[in-house]
């Protein structure tokens, strides 16, 4: 399945049906995004009236294009989509990306079913309908009517919601989070979350996947695909809404509780996915996982210039089951060599409010070089006597000089200058956040992911063993041996 999606993400030629000269039309914006994104393949605008659009020769139909097109983007009214599909199918296209709305979401499930059935008959698969398109930066393909200036990077984003998806493309640009892909799922008439998850699971350009999910048609397939992702890379899920709220007249406590959000929480745990309650958290995690995904050893050292920031971070870590230990004795004596008397060398290490960037450099460097320290959380509160950017530069110097790959996460609090320092750190691949809590929560997610993955691995082992046993004994799916006893 995933192998098939390859041509969707790496098409040799793309057609845009409904391409228009009118800059306000979706067909125009998509074509423009494809061109301005630097897509190296061939692009064919399809429009029966226009001779040329955005400098490209337009064709009246997909079938009149002189070569085979892999992906056909459809931006025409719903009632014309079936005709486009027939034409595209007969010309050998593999994927139909249907941006048009006016299907199941407005009660036309019949039209949608017909579209998929016929497309399948032509050997085509359908993305959408009712979507804003998709982006895949490794192929320099932006076939969406979202922002055109997407930053390339390691985050894949899958969204069931169109408006939210477009907004998040913008958010990722502002936050400096680079993306590998953005896929608008829409009605999921054919290609669903599981298909796309499987593609990104195998995609070496994707380091972490964020999925915004409202519901899935095939829960078991979703669970299977999500679990298989977790074994390879982190999956962060923003689960919106609930399944079947109130729609089920339950005769039991279990039935009634299962229609709430609790069932989904269980499913995500079982899949080893990190659940993010909100968009901000999801992107905070994504920033972290873009940089690191290997579970570090257990010892975290917090370096801070403010006691309060240290306490907030410590609490957040503890709430997420990451507990700080006293730093190693030789690290403490190392710190004592340059820190003032009144500095605290416990954990968090408080290098004092007036700490110059040199203290940050030395404290971080020592921590990174120490074999018993596995991850470092660096906190900085802006003061009149210190410089945020210099502090950030000092950090990067220490990281680059030691070059050990240990996770370093930054929480920088303060004004616009601090914002600049954060952008600088992100640009250098250091996950950086504007509060100590968010930085601590992101670091904790690294441990959480490791724990989740261990459980999924164990589960997979049990399932393999159970399958083996079943094959051997010709048994029903069974993990415990039945031991019947009569009534007393």
């Amino acid at each position: 399945m995933a192998e098939h999606l390859r041509r969707l993400f790496y098409p040799r030629a793309v057609a845009v049906v409904g391409a228009s000269r009118d800059p306000s039309k979706i067909g125009h914006i998509v074509l423009k995004n494809i061109l301005s994104g630097g897509y190296p393949g061939r692009v064919y605008p399809i429009n029966s009236n226009a001779g040329e659009i955005l400098g490209l020769k337009a064709y009246p139909r997909v079938s009149s294009v002189p070569e085979q097109v892999d992906v056909v983007i459809v931006a025409v009214p719903a009632q014309k989509v079936l005709d486009v599909m027939e034409d595209a199918g007969s010309s050998g296209a593999e994927y139909l990306v249907v941006l048009s709305s006016g299907f199941k979401e407005v009660g036309r499930a019949d039209l949608e079913r017909k579209l998929v059935e016929e497309a399948r008959r032509h050997g085509m698969r359908v993305l959408g309908p009712n979507i804003f398109g998709y982006v895949y930066t490794p192929a320099k393909l932006n076939a969406s009517f979202g922002p055109s200036n997407v930053l390339p990077g390691g985050v894949a984003f899958i969204s069931q919601s169109g408006a939210l998806g477009i907004a998040l493309m913008g958010y990722s640009i502002v936050e400096g989070v680079g993306v590998s892909g953005v896929v608008s799922m829409g009605n999921k008439a054919d290609i669903d979350d599981a298909d796309v998850l499987e593609f990104f699971r195998e995609d070496p350009n994707t380091k972490v996947i964020i999925a915004y999910v409202e519901g899935v048609a095939d829960g078991r397939r979703f669970l299977e695909a999500a679990s298989s992702v977790s074994l390879r890379k982190p999956l962060v899920v923003i689960k919106a809404g609930r399944t079947e709220v109130g729609a089920k007249a339950a005769a039991s406590h279990t039935g009634s509780l299962s229609s709430g959000p609790m069932l989904w929480e269980g499913v995500l745990e079982q899949a080893g996915a990190l659940q993010a309650k909100d968009v901000e958290t999801a992107f905070d995690y994504a920033k972290l996982f873009s940089a690191y995904n290997v579970p570090p050893g257990p010892n975290v050292v917090v370096i801070t210039n403010g006691g309060g920031a240290g306490v907030q971070a410590t609490d957040t870590l503890a709430e997420n089951e990451v507990y700080l230990k006293e730093p190693p004795a030789d690290y403490v004596s190392y710190l004592r060599e340059f820190l003032p008397e009144f500095a605290s060398t416990r954990n968090p290490v408080d290098i004092t409010g007036g700490a110059p960037d040199e203290f940050y450099y030395l404290a971080l460097r020592g921590a990174l070089e120490h074999p018993e320290i596995h991850a470092v959380l660096v906190l900085y509160c802006q003061t009149m006597t210190t410089n945020p950017l210099k502090t950030a530069e000092a950090m990067v110097r220490a990281i680059e000089e030691v070059g050990c790959g240990k996770p370093v996460v930054a929480g920088f609090v303060g004004s616009e200058e601090v914002q600049k320092a954060i952008s600088y750190l992100l640009g250098k691949g250091v996950p950086a956040y504007p509060t100590p809590e968010r930085a601590a929560q992101a670091l904790a997610a690294l441990y959480r992911y490791a724990a989740l993955r261990r459980v999924v691995e164990k589960r997979a082992e049990y399932l393999r063993a159970a399958r083996g046993e079943r094959a051997r004994l010709g048994y029903a799916e069974s993990f415990v041996r039945r031991s019947p006893r009569g009534p007393p």
Binding site: H253, T254, L257, S258, V267, E269, E477, F479, S483
Partner: protein, 235 residues
């Protein structure tokens, strides 16, 4: 044993019931190796005494009737019954009470059941989700289940690690570790019940919903026992 899943389902369908009766539910639990409080169905006061003799005092007595939803409202429940005389007496008063307050209700007899010592109460359940199929639930049990909503779900079939995680996920997990001078609870016994319920819901296509509530969890190595079980069949 007379309570193979097939036989139970068939008799329920024959009688037009979607719900298994108390003794049937307990018997189905046993079929799957889920430990339950000792019980027997009495059809006369003499039988009730015989069963109580086997179980030992105190016992609980409940009317078994497909037509009474709230047994205590019709005087159909007696707790902490401690003597043979009392068993006889309660048997008669339960049958009479139901006939008076719910005339025409079908009565199969009276369930005489071991009154379990106190312990941590959990709920183990299963249902069929329209998207995920059979799912299993574990929660802090008793009468406040739907208020506390301290539950965890997994899609069946479960593996050992799933069941273990479900226990640890509960907000009230600390209750398993013992409090107020009581020892830690038998977590392994709960895990076992969860796995068996997973097996049951995976195998028995006819079962729509399961509530084992409460399951009383005793101290470590003393197991857990189902006090009350409800099985709903597919409509």
């Amino acid at each position: 044993m007379g309570c193979t899943p097939q036989a139970l389902v068939e008799s329920a369908i024959r009688e037009g019931r979607r719900k298994l009766l108390e003794h049937e539910s307990l018997c189905l639990c046993e079929y799957y190796g889920i430990p339950v409080a000792k019980y027997g169905l009495a059809r006369s006061s003499t039988e009730a005494v015989e069963i109580a003799k086997k179980i030992g005092f105190p016992v609980v007595m409940k009317v078994v009737s497909p037509d009474t939803l709230h047994k205590s409202d019709v005087g159909g429940v007696a707790l902490g019954v401690r003597t043979f005389e009392e068993v006889q007496e309660k048997y008669t008063s339960i049958i009479r009470g139901v006939m008076l307050r719910a005339p025409g209700a079908r009565v199969h007899g009276v369930l005489v059941q071991e009154m379990l010592p106190r312990g941590l109460e959990v709920i183990v359940g299963a249902t069929r989700d329209p998207y995920f199929g059979p799912v299993v639930m574990l929660g802090i049990g008793g009468v406040f289940v739907e208020v506390l909503k301290d539950v965890s779900f997994r899609v069946a079939p479960l593996t050992l690690v799933d069941a273990e995680e479900m226990v640890k996920e509960l907000k009230g997990y600390r209750l398993f570790k013992g409090f107020r001078g009581e020892g830690p609870r038998d977590e392994a016994a709960v895990v076992d019940v969860v796995l068996r319920v997973s097996e049951l819901i995976t195998e028995l296509d006819e079962v729509a919903e399961v509530d084992l509530n409460p399951v009383i969890v005793f101290e470590e190595r003393h197991g857990a026992k189902v006090a009350d079980a409800r099985f709903m069949l597919r409509g």
